[in-house]
Symmetry: C2
Subunit: 97 residues, 2 copies
């Protein structure tokens, strides 16, 4: 998950949790799709979509934590943090506008 | 999708689009899960998660549009808009904090 420090990949301690969360989110989206097919009430659909969005944000936070704890720290040790910092800023721009 | 105006259910003109969008989002989440399994780079994962969030928000907007165009307008005609307005406010609270 880190292109700058390939030898550190096994150190992404939240990776399994990220995969599990994405699997749960996938199932959650599938169930909301079924709710839409079943003509369930609009406010119920909106509530579920808000919950999925929150779960996505928490997953993104976990990926970012992994990225900073591993890729960024490793890159600083190797003196090549410029690119990693630029990547993180670009990723953050997509979440915080 | 509207509990207050059951006879208006067939008027949710965006319902098919909502179901299609949710199906695409489901596939998108599945592919990001596979990216995490494949140890893809953190910034790539974050970029995809941001794209999914945006797609979710656009889907929520579509549901809200349907809800206002049908349930709310119908409720106002019948003089029982109080509950529908309260539901919409509650749903919006989850998106705009």
């Amino acid at each position: 998950m880190c292109n700058h420090e390939n030898d550190h990949q096994h150190n992404h301690k939240h990776r399994k949790s990220v995969i599990n969360r994405l699997a749960r989110i996938e199932g959650h989206v599938r169930s909301v799709k079924q709710m839409a097919i079943d003509e369930r009430e609009c406010p119920d659909l909106l509530l579920q979509i808000a919950a999925i969005r929150k779960a996505l944000d928490n997953t993104a936070k976990l990926i970012l934590t992994d990225h900073m704890e591993n890729c960024l720290v490793g890159a600083v040790h190797n003196g090549n943090e410029e690119q990693v910092l630029q990547d993180i800023k670009k990723a953050l721009d997509n979440f915080i506008r």
